[in-house]
Every structure is written in structure tokens, then in C-alpha cells.
């Protein structure tokens, strides 16, 4: 079973989601590289972390469900985990940056 065996009803939206997710992640990382200050820079990778990861995980769910001929939704674990933990890290980093810039 390879990706060439995936039926068209699953391959078309999965390919669209993969292209969208890749482009969103690329734009986020380019923002991380190009923006000026740290407080502008912290916004950029969150786009790749939420929307990009969400697109890729939904596409992975589609493809594995179509390959296994049943509903496979264990990728929801990663989605939930990333959605819960990304703001925690960002908030702590932001508070550390505010404290360090004040000194």
C-alpha cells in the first residue's frame, strides 16, 4: 500500500491541504527570519504551528483512513497536544523577553 493507491476522493483534498500547510509553514518561518524585533518575530511561527500543523494532520487523517478502509483519527492526539502546549511556551517566552528587555 503506497500513496499511489489512495482513491481520488481522498487524494484531492489531501493534496490541497498538504500544499496549503507547506506554504503556511514556509511563510511563518520566513517571518521568523525576516522580521525586525523579537516581539514582532514571536507572532510569525505560530501560524505554522497551528494552521500548518492542522492542515497536515487533517491530510494525514484522510490518507490513513483511505488506506486502512476505516476511520483513523489518532492524529487528533497530536493536534490537541500542539494546540494546548503552543500558547504555554509562547507566553513564558514573552514574559521572559519582557523581563530581560526591562533590565
Amino acid at each position: 500500500m503506497t500513496t499511489a493507491d489512495v482513491p481520488l476522493w481522498a487524494a484531492l483534498p489531501a493534496a490541497l491541504l498538504l500544499v496549503c500547510g507547506g506554504l503556511l509553514t514556509l511563510v511563518g518561518s520566513l517571518g521568523l527570519l525576516r522580521l525586525d524585533s523579537f516581539f514582532a518575530r514571536i507572532h510569525a511561527p505560530t501560524m505554522g504551528g497551528t494552521l500548518g500543523a492542522g492542515c497536515v494532520l487533517v491530510a494525514s487523517m484522510l490518507v490513513s483512513s483511505a488506506l486502512a478502509q476505516r476511520l483513523v483519527i489518532h492524529e487528533l492526539l497530536i493536534t490537541l497536544f500542539v494546540l494546548i502546549t503552543a500558547p504555554v511556551t509562547t507566553m513564558m517566552l514573552m514574559r521572559a523577553a519582557i523581563r530581560r528587555s526591562r533590565e
Binding site: M1, L32, P45, T85
Partner: protein, 93 residues
């Protein structure tokens, strides 16, 4: 049969490789420590997405567990380093 999905997988793999390159440049160049931690967090998420993409491309379910572990350890590492910047120590007595 249809070459649409392998094409999209290769395109997304190239996008993630470029994103990891951008994050790596920011990691090496970042002026302050918090920039480097942010770049490392982005690198972790991009690596997790790359592993997932390999799982889709090869049609194997084994890569899912690796991606989950990478997400877990990335969160723990980034939080520990941010806590160290915030407080000066990771585990407070």
C-alpha cells in the same frame, strides 16, 4: 495510479526543509537568547511535520508515534529553557 498525492508530498517536504533552514539561520544568528529558543521551538514543530509527511509519503503508521514523541519533547525542552530565562532555574525548590 494518480500522481497527485506524491507530488504534493514532495512539495510540502521541500517547504518544510526550507522552513527548517530559515529557523536554523535564526538559531545561529539570533541576537538574544529568547530568539534562539523561539527558533528551536519552530525547528521542533517543523521536524515533527516533516516526519508526519514521511509517514504519509511512505504509507506507514509507524511515523505517527515518532511525531508524537517529538512534539512532547519539543514542548518540554522549550518550556524548560523559557522557565530558565524567566526565573534563573528550571525546577524551583
Amino acid at each position: 495510479m494518480n500522481a497527485l498525492l506524491p507530488l504534493a508530498v514532495n512539495f510540502a517536504l521541500a517547504c518544510f526543509a526550507l522552513s527548517m533552514l530559515c529557523a536554523l539561520i535564526r538559531l545561529l544568528r539570533g541576537p538574544a537568547a529568547q530568539d534562539r529558543i523561539l527558533a528551536l521551538d519552530t525547528l521542533y514543530i517543523n521536524g515533527m511535520l516533516t516526519i508526519l509527511m514521511l509517514g504519509i509519503g511512505l504509507g506507514s503508521a509507524l511515523y505517527f508515534d515518532i511525531a508524537l514523541l517529538i512534539a512532547l519533547f519539543g514542548f518540554v525542552g522549550s518550556t524548560a529553557m523559557a522557565k530558565f530565562l524567566l526565573r534563573g532555574e528550571v525546577i524551583e525548590p
